[in-house]
Symmetry: C2
Subunit: 339 residues, 2 copies
Amino acid sequence: MRRPTIKDVAADCGVSKATVSLVLRDSPQIGEDTKQRVRESMVRLGYVYNRRAADMRSQRSRTLGLVVTHLRNPYFAELTMAIEDAASTNGYTLFQGFSRDEVPRQRRLLETMAEHRIDGLILLPSHDSRQEDLREALGGARLPHVLIARSVRGYDCDYVGADNVRSGVLVGEHLGTLGVSSAAFLGGAEGSSARGDRIEGLNVGLRSAGVTSPLALSLPAIGDEGGISLVDRMLERIPCPDAIVAYNDMYAVGVMNGLRARGIIPGRDVAVASFDDVPDAAFQQPPLTSAAGHPEIVGARATRLLLDRLEDPDRAPRSVLVEPDLIPRASTTSWSGRA
Amino acid sequence: MRRPTIKDVAADCGVSKATVSLVLRDSPQIGEDTKQRVRESMVRLGYVYNRRAADMRSQRSRTLGLVVTHLRNPYFAELTMAIEDAASTNGYTLFQGFSRDEVPRQRRLLETMAEHRIDGLILLPSHDSRQEDLREALGGARLPHVLIARSVRGYDCDYVGADNVRSGVLVGEHLGTLGVSSAAFLGGAEGSSARGDRIEGLNVGLRSAGVTSPLALSLPAIGDEGGISLVDRMLERIPCPDAIVAYNDMYAVGVMNGLRARGIIPGRDVAVASFDDVPDAAFQQPPLTSAAGHPEIVGARATRLLLDRLEDPDRAPRSVLVEPDLIPRASTTSWSGRA
DNA sequence: CTGAAAGCGCTTACAG
DNA sequence: CTGAAAGCGCTTACAG
């Protein structure tokens, strides 16, 4: 009941192992009649190609690793699906792991994947990754890799993400145009590259739309804190601003619930905007204005970048920023203006 | 610049390959001083263990395959994370693929994973999978596997899912107790095992709570159709019932938006309930009553079942049904009763 | 406690 | 057009 190997196939149809191997790759060296006979033997014996053995000999695995933090964020889920699609289209199978935003867990995953001899890695780094963490885990294994969605300060490598500064500018200009004169930024992990970029762009956008005193407050989330709690903390410190910009759509949902709990109607009493434009954003009450981060494009470009690097391991690192789009919806456009 | 192998390590510290191999597994056969020397060599040379080679010899791969349809459903995302967690806790690395509910794509993924010699497979079957499809893809490769969330008619194998009949009963009893006298079921793919089970249970639950004429209508989704369109189709055929039960929380969100678009307030004018209890359910307006399907438990049990089967490939197939819980929220409890 | 040898299932020059 | 042989990097009996 052992699984048949090319040796069994070769014996079954009276050729050598080498011939069977060449038939597997449909080599033009082999005659059509021989190919036919070999293929019939394979079917008869129930032969299943063993890639592990093949790859061991040819020193590549045709596998890629994908490590993201988790899938609770629909943006990460879309990113994951886009990468799987691009990988399998190009003949690669994907190892997947979730760091849950924990550096030790991330390190273990990278180690294991390196031991499985993945050809390359796509990593959405856990938010507290330091450059040393990555250098240790990736440099040691000399593993081609690209970072997505979050960059790591001081660590220069291939990177693909939405253009967060530009997203911030779009949101800021939109709010300014609506007549907003005060705004707060809620959520996101302190020190996150995406958070810093979004805030930076937001200030630029607000100013360019003529808002003189941008960002009355910006509160990063503490631990697993959600939007409801952030609204409470905000209201302890400042009166409700004209607009609240959430770090992403998930925080925005919490923010809108937090506002309602305080008797403030989101969309009417205060404009609410955020980032990512996950599918659910359109189905919120009110529908949520969001800067689309196009995860399907980010995922496809990241996979492309990684495959390019496999071809040429020594090329200079590249950074790809995907252009965002502002999707205005009622959470900002129905804002009634200052009383 | 070739990667060092155990041969290089052995040469570096003057022992044989076999000794290095034993040190890798921390064998008690080897003396502490020798182990120390070997480990120092490994670090010095930057040795990375090659599991592919090891596994080829030992005829197992320490990898599992996970194929789900997609991650757009948060329930599937939770399931995926739970399985990855259980797999990595047990020393397995996960291959992941998405069938996108397409049988040919599913078949290709299963074939490729079999060629990579995964030790076992967890499959959330694409909704139109026939038993022949699975028999062909899995029987041929003699691959240990367990199905999750959806069963396939006529295909007897290990299975883990929420108890959908019981979920239906819980929802039905809850609605009956609230005084509902008419209900419609919206969404889900026609022929889906989960859909059939939920409807069956729902009828039982409604009856047992004294509702004499259950389920005025049940409409499966056509293609990618969402809740909004389903509401429109429902209202063309019957007057709005006391309660709408959606196939899952994603349809429920659409259903509530569809109702609002028609001037019907969900929660007040009509009770809305559904299945899964994804994290977002609590944050809907109104918060959504849902029968929790506990994906973290389903995922953990499925992985356990697969590992058990790897131990004993010939045991009889088992079916594990995870007990659901009804989480009542305002989408039903604020229902005002018949006018 | 350690080493020499065979073998896992392929691919890859090299002959013929 | 096909075959014999070496080798990918490990593990596993088997000696000693």
